[in-house]
């Protein structure tokens, strides 16, 4: 459930009392028409709040948790699990790590060296971040529990994962059902950055370093296989589209 416009305006009054709406939009990069439309409809998107909070150099997490329906974010702060951290590493970074560990002479660091310069992990979220996050915290029954708790049909849930999308509310419900920190899904969906969600700096890198060669290689293999499948499907769709265009266009 997005934030109610009334609560949002009250928050904005407190957060930036002397700033005009036009200035708010300018510094946060939100279109004026978008904000106006959300206010008229009475529902303000979480991304709007986060963008404004970020632009005002406030804490998006604290600001979001100041709203009634996100109050639980303020409660227990559970750090992300290693599996969640690894799930938020982009596939190409995982592959780079595989190469780095196995071929030190080609720019890798070998088994006990120092990582090469410029090899920092790219920030979350990556192209399949949402699905990988859910897979990382799924004990096999998670989807059923989320579905039962929120009333979202399993096929809609899966469609969201495929589209690499999930509403903040559903992301929190998923984290709750899995018993992990509530902000994990907010990072995976790109609503908040890792530091904003309270993830310690370098946590992803440490989680990656903690993987054994076997674990890392198996994980990279799974990701690569999924990527191959997605690419093949895209290619098939393109071929089919071209066939239609050739014959009927």
């Amino acid at each position: 459930m997005p934030i109610s416009a009334k609560a949002f305006q009250a928050w904005l009054q407190g957060a930036a009392p002397a700033v005009s709406t036009a200035d708010i939009c300018r510094i946060s990069g939100i279109k004026r028409t978008t904000l106006a439309q959300q206010l008229v409809r009475g529902k303000v998107a979480e991304t709007t709040l986060v963008s404004i909070s970020r632009a005002l150099h406030r804490s998006p997490l604290e600001d979001l948790s100041s709203f009634e329906n996100y109050a639980e974010l303020a409660g227990r702060r559970q750090p992300p699990t290693p599996a969640e951290l690894v799930s938020q590493i982009a596939t190409m970074d995982l592959l780079r790590a595989v190469i780095g560990r196995s071929e030190p002479e080609r720019g890798g660091r070998g088994s006990d060296g120092i990582p090469p310069a410029g090899a920092a992990l790219s920030p979350a979220p990556h192209a399949t971040a949402v699905r990988n996050w859910v897979d990382a915290i799924d004990d096999g029954e998670l989807r059923h529990r989320v579905s039962a708790a929120t009333g979202v049909a399993p096929q809609n849930y899966s469609a969201q994962l495929t589209a690499n999308r999930m509403s903040p509310e559903l992301a929190i419900a998923t984290a709750r059902a899995a018993g992990v920190g509530l902000t994990g899904g907010l990072v995976a969906t790109g609503l908040m950055t890792e530091p904003e969600a309270g993830w310690p700096p370098g946590a992803k890198q440490s989680a990656l370093d903690a993987l054994s060669d076997g674990e890392l290689t198996a994980l990279a293999g799974e990701r690569l296989q999924a990527l191959g499948k997605a690419l093949r499907r895209q290619e098939q769709e393109q071929a089919q589209t071209n066939k239609i265009w050739e014959n009927l266009g």
Binding site: R233, E237, Q240, T241, K243, I244, E246, N247, L248, G249
Partner: protein, 235 residues
């Protein structure tokens, strides 16, 4: 109401056909251009004034109606082949060009010609309406004639319905799925027009609605595919 539907359909069809002339001259997908051109002629001949003019020129024996039927068959054949090749699996075109398709086309053509020759067709009349009122014998023959004329289009479109439904439900670009969906609607309308003989005269307007909905949906579906292709090639 019927007039508006007829002339709108004619205008849409004619505009698209004219717009396709340059690409047809360049040799791109001429069969699609022929579908538009044939459809334009078909609609022209199903409107009273042009039909009367053409038929009088042909001798006033409703020969124009026979020509109209074969124009429809030609348009549907080309359209069906395009849909089968574009939407369907490898074996889909055989449903049109294979033995069953050819037998259906042959039977429908034969019945149309034979029934036409059996009728006293003097006196131009759109849709052969005035012939049907001559006597009971002619009324029955006109019904057979119409049924045979609707048989082939319905066969072709129904044979390709699964392929259209699959495309409409696929993950392909939205515009293509919309096109496939429009063609599904067109197919349903063509199929419903098979019911024409049992539609009571008081609901006679339904016949027109089915026919023109079918043509409009098929033409718009085709045009949207073209639009999507043009848009993609520009970027």
């Amino acid at each position: 109401m019927i007039g508006i539907l007829q002339w709108t359909t004619l205008a849409v069809c004619g505009i698209v056909a004219i717009a396709r002339i340059p690409s047809a001259l360049r040799g791109q997908n001429r069969s699609v251009f022929f579908v538009y051109a044939l459809m334009t002629l078909v609609i022209l001949l199903s409107i009273e004034a042009p039909y009367m003019a053409v038929d009088r020129a042909l001798g006033g024996t409703n020969l124009a109606n026979l020509v109209l039927r074969f124009l429809i068959f030609a348009a549907i054949f080309l359209l069906g082949l395009g849909i089968a090749r574009g939407f369907g699996a490898e074996d889909a075109p055989r449903r049109i060009t294979g033995p069953i398709g050819m037998v259906t086309l042959g039977t429908a053509s034969l019945v149309i010609v034979v029934v036409f020759l059996m009728m006293d067709t003097a006196g131009s009349s759109t849709g052969l309406v005035s012939l049907a009122t001559k006597d009971a014998h002619h009324a029955a023959l006109v019904e057979y004639y119409g049924a045979a004329g609707r048989l082939y289009p319905a066969y072709v479109m129904l044979a390709l319905l699964p392929a259209m439904l699959r495309t409409a439900a696929s993950r392909l670009p939205g515009l293509l799925r919309l096109s496939a969906g429009l063609m599904v609607v067109g197919t349903v309308a063509i199929t419903l027009s098979l019911l024409s003989p049992v539609i009571p005269p008081s609901l006679g307007i339904l016949r027109f609605i089915f026919n023109y909905t079918a043509v409009l949906c098929l033409i718009l579906g085709l045009a949207l595919i073209w639009l999507g292709k043009a848009r993609a090639s520009r970027t």
